[in-house]
Structure formats: structure tokens, C-alpha cells
Amino acid sequence: MATVHLQADHSRFTDGVRELEVDGATVGAIIDELEQRFPGLGPLLTEGASVALDGELLPRGSIYESVGPDAEVHFLAPIAGG
């Protein structure tokens, strides 16, 4: 299972939990699983977050990106540029 790291703002949906193990073969599957466990969190992670997978910043919308069983997934605030 991947280790998922959430920001402080996400933890209002998770009763304060910031780090947890989640089963999912893709980023999207992990978000779906988190939404199942913490209703309301899913849209925030889909629309309001950038994702780093094993430290690498993924492009926006990478819900089909494969996630390995020992992966570290960080949900971040949105990142853009100028």
C-alpha cells in the first residue's frame, strides 16, 4: 500500500490524520479510496491539489499515473507558474 501524506487543510476531513496507508494502483484510485473513507476530501484532492509521487511533481490531472505498492504520495497545494 502507498503511504499518503496530506496537508493540514485536508485533515479537517480525516479527523486530523495526515499520514495513512492507502490501497490504489493509480493516483485516481487513491483519491477514490480517500473519498470513500473521508467523504468530501476527493474533490479537494482532484481540483485543489498538485501531487508529488515519490518526490516527483506530477503534471496536473495525472489521475491515471501508476502508484507502486511502496510509493510515497504527497497531496500539495496547487502549483502553477508565471
Binding site: A52, H74, P78, G81, G82
Partner: protein, 745 residues
Amino acid sequence: MTATEHPPTYKYIGTRPIRHDGLEKVTGKARFAADLDMTGQLRGAMIRSPYAHARIVSIDTSDAEAMPGVKAVVTGADFPAIDINEQIHDEAINIIARDEVLYNGHVVAAVAATTAAEARAAAAAVKVQYEDLPTILSIDDAIAEGAPIANPTNRTLFTGDTEPSNLASVGQFDRGDVEAGFAEADVVVEREFRTKPVHQGYIEPHACVADCGQDGKATIWASSQGHFMVRARTAAVLGWGTERIKVIPAEIGGGFGGKTTIYLEPIAVRLSQKASRPVKIVMTREEVLRATGPAPGAKMWAKIGATKDGELTTLEADLYYSNGSFKGYAALTGAMSIASYKFPNLMLKATGTIDNMPKSAAYRAPSAPQAAFAIETLVDEIADELGMDPIELRLKNAVTEGDPTAMGAPHPKIGFVETLEAIKNSDHYRSPVPEGAGRGVATGFWFNIGEQSSATVNLNEDGTATVITGSPDIGGSRASMALMAAEELGLDVHHITPIVADTGSVGFTDITEGSRATFATGMAVVNACRNLKKQLVQRAATMRGIDVDQVAWVGGAAVIEGVPSEGQDPVSLAEITAAAKMTGGPLTATASLNAAGAGPSFAVHLADVKVDEETGQVTILRYTAAQDAGTAIHPSYVEGQMQGGSVQGIGWALNEEYVFDEHGEMQNAGFLDYRMPVASDLPMIDTIIVEVPNPSHPYGVRGVGETGIVPPIPTLANAIADATGVRMTTLPMSPPNLLKALNER
């Protein structure tokens, strides 16, 4: 000057050919949107609100419509209603107001007439009746208890809140135990900082031409950082499908983040549709300053603790950023950009506010310069208090690969330490500080992004090549694309023509933002070239009548391996393209991707300044900028980005600010009063390119366009402190502000 981790072995990458568009640019032949004139073209003019916040009671366009030469008038009623939950809502309302005007300069109507003078006269004849509403013009006003709502359509981002609010976004990033961290600190410093909104200051005002045909389709010539973005957002504002719009990228005269959005295009299309003639709209400089995106002003409090041996134990900060009249996540980005040091204990609170100033827009490493001003000032103060060399203190605490960012995610391979060492070992740092001067150093970080890009590479029948991409060239990216293609194909870079194609002629490509073009679009070019090389060796094998496994692409030719040498000389690219019609037809390849792994970039700047204590005037005696470029594809344009970012940061530090009156009217909407630095204000900006290759790019590229603007503000603040003993905490550090601080010493 380049400080290189691994000496390059490339033939073309790292060289400095004259850019392909250079001659046209320096001879004035390059065509910008304002240069374009169409047969039967009309000129558009905007009617802008004189109020910072007001309800639109009525708009009477009858007199304007009756004036000579006037062919069309539009108001907000000519555009589809948009629900506040739609993604395009804010941009649509910013383009043309509906029920309320939200800042002074907000467009309420537009006219198209035969000449620009007729359009301006007609615009002046449009009668708008307003009902004045309470105005919010500062962060303090926005967050005050019981403050009036600046924009009734704003809902705080990512909270699910359904009530109007003056908060654009709220966030928190934390780790460790801040209280315990401060308890173990031997030195603690804290200050409050304030910065004003500043403009990107691109030379070319926003401009476009739109031509809407009888078939209901429109062609737009536009200056932007992304013509696919222009197509998508114009279509969304108009309620059209994208198939109805083709956008042709004009040359762009600077963007720096300010052209990642649209202001004119939907209005030009609607006017053209109504008048059945092409319509050109060109903003004046005053319109650019009054109504296009400044970088946010900020109010920041920060506190840092350190042990007596210089270990930074704790950072606590509360950051407020003004988003202007529409929501955004500037404050969150500002907090996340604090990523240079290994603070084991950290608490960052970030709040974006809404007010009645123009909608803020991205500006080179958006939100990072403000936060760096606060953090790098305090880090410098810690070094001062401990009597440590400011670079040694930073080296002691610098993040390296695997260390967490503010958000917790680990840094990938980065070159921060190498960049600090490049400055430490520079001639500038080893030289004594000039008598009577002060020296300052500061660092900056920027994420960089990847995103979607497409490229097509066509080999021409004479062995030359055309590289076609969808990334507007705002910093020399044509040359970078050509250099990467030259390296791949083994083809002289001057035999490659790089083209930025319109939305109908190349695959979708995201905006040129986030320092992504050379990284992501460059990777698409490399992938297309690698596809072509496979085709080339296949064609060579066909020509020689041998198996493709016996052919390799080496040095720009197909080399035959494992067969007798006689009669098996390498097959040149030109020979293969000349024979293409006999071996399978034209050679072309397209690649597209959604790029991950944009390597972050760090910069370290160093300045010597002299302060005139009678006037408060700061003179920069010497300035050196070092930055990790990963691999410098075209070093001249990397240096140009570093110098450009430095100069914009210097202007932000020393002079630039939006000045509003109490009604929210900008008082310095022109370059005489909005003082940007010019060449005579500046010394030569010396550059040191550091190359720690990004493992996620085939040539190691990191974006270089943005990081250079992050360190200048604290670099100069620290130099001023060294020269005068005064820590400046308010921008700009202009003569009046600095003189006031000196007198209060």
C-alpha cells in the same frame, strides 16, 4: 560564466548561436499583434469603470451607436450568463463586468469604429450610471471584523464555503513542534513585512485582432503566453466550442506571467461578430497598469529561531497576500515557496484576501519574492547576530535531495549547495566590500512545472529540418528547441527552422509558464527527433539493402555496422531525405507528452550597494547572480533570464509600487510615475550558471525563467542593512521610504 558539475560532451547544446528570430526582432520586422492590419479592420475601445466598487444601474449606448464610424457596441449583456461555480467565471467577469464593477478600470462596455479616434470618442459617449459601494483597498481592510464584501461572487477556495467572503484561500503547512523549536533556540528574530502590488511591466501592451466570419468561426491574432489557452478561454467566455476558434500567435513583447490570462479576445470576437469586420484592440499603457494583473501585495509576519552554532531550528510565519478582486491561491504558493532550509519545526499560515484592486496575475515565480523578502531577511539577521558568514549559515542549513519541502514532499535532485558554493567562490564574494558600501546575499527557490506539450519535426527534402511547437517564444525558446533537435539529429542548428504554430497546426500545448517550455516542449522535440532517427536508419537500411539492425544513427548520418566497409559509407541525412519518395515518403514525426519531473531551480544573488544617507538613494555597485540551470541549452538565454529576473526584482525592491487614492484609483498608471529600472540605473548583472542536471530530462534541463526574480529583494535589503544598520521591512526601499527609516534609526 558556467560552473559545471559534469563537463558537457555535446556538439550543439551549450553553444550560443544567434537566435533564429533575432534578425527580425532587431530590425523591427517581427510582427506583434498591434502591428497587424486587416482589410476592413475596425478599432476597438473600452469603457472602464471610474469606481473601484459599484453596482451598474444602467448602460445607455444609444448616443455612442449613433456616432460617425461606429459599427458595434457590446456590454456584459452580450455575453452568456456564467454560474459562479464554472471555472471560467472569474475570468469572464474580469473581462467585462455584469452586475457590479469590482475595481477602477473594470470594463463595462466596448465599441468598434472605423478609426481609433472614433472608437475613443464613442467610448466616451457611453453613459453608465453607477451606485457606489463600499470599497476594500488593503489586506487589513479585507480581514477587518465586519468588513464589507469586496466581491459578492467570491467563495473561499477549497473550503466548500457557500457564503461570500473576503478570503480567497486559507492554508497551513506544518511539521515538528514549533514551540519546542523556539525553546531550544539561542537566537530568535521576528519582524513584520509589507509589500505593495507591482506590475510585470512587459513592454508590449495587450493587443489582439479578431475576425469573425459569416460561418460563425473566428480567427484571433493574439499576444499571449499560450494561444491554446486563448482559444479555450475565449470559447468558454463566449459559450462556443473550441472548433470555432483558431488562434495565431503573434510575437510577444514580454509576458512574465502577465499574459497567462486573457482580457481582450472575447470582446474583440463579439465586436467583430456584430460588425462583420475584423476588430483590433490595443491597450494603452494606462489600461495595462489599471486593469491587468499585478503581482499581489503582501503582509507577512515571520519568526525564526537558531542555535548558537547556526542551526535553524524553527520557522513560524503568517502570510497574507492580496489577490485583488478575484480569488486565487497566491498566499498558498507563497508559503510553499519557502523551501530552501531544513527547518525541523515549521508552521506556515497562508491567507489570500479579496479587495477592490485589479485581479492579480502570475508574475515570475508567483508569490515567492514576497516570502523570500521576509525569510531571507531574518536568516541574514540570524547570521548577523551569531557573527557567522551569511553563506556559511545558509550552507549549514541548505536542503539537499531528500530533504522535505514546506509541504513535506522530498526535494528531488537539486543544486542549491552547488549554487551557494558558486557565489562563495566567486570573485565578487572574495573581493573586499568597497569602502562605505554594504554587501548582501540571499537565495531563492522555484518549483518549475512540466505539463502538456506537442512538437512536430519535419525533415525537408534537402536535409534541413523544421521544428514546429505550440510554445510562444518569450525567452529564446525557438533557439533552445533548434539546439536540442540539432543535438539529436546531428544537424547544424542553422539548418533547422523553429516555428511556433497556430492552434490548428500543432498539437495542444499548455501555456509557456512555470519555466516549462525548454523543459517540457523541449522534451517533446527530443522525442520527435528520436522517432525520426528510427525512421532514418530504416530508410538507410532500405537504401543499402541491409537489415535495419546493422544501422545506427551517429553524428548526423546512418552508419553501417558489421558489414564490409567498401561501398558502405555512412548515409547522410541529406541523402536519405533526397531519396525519401523512393523509400516511403516524407520523413516527419510528432510527439506529445504531459511532462513530470520538472526540476526545481535555486538561485543565490550577491550585491554591493551604496546608500546616500541624505537622499535615501540606493546605488548598486556590483551584482552577481548564480542559478542552477540543470543544463544550459543556450547559455546566452539562460544568462538573459537570470539578468532579466534580477532586474525585475531590483525594480520591485527599490522603486515599484501601485499607488492608489482613497477611492481606489491608481495614481501612477504610466512609466513616468511607475518607476521601473532602466539600463542607466544598473550595473552589469554578472551571472554564474550552475549545472546540476535534472535526471527527469534527457539533457538535464531545469526551467530557468522564474527563479532569478526571487532573491533580489532580500539581497538588496540585506546589503542596505549592511551599509546602514537599518533593516527595511517595507517595499519599495525607495528614497522616501529609506530616508524615513534612516531618520528613525
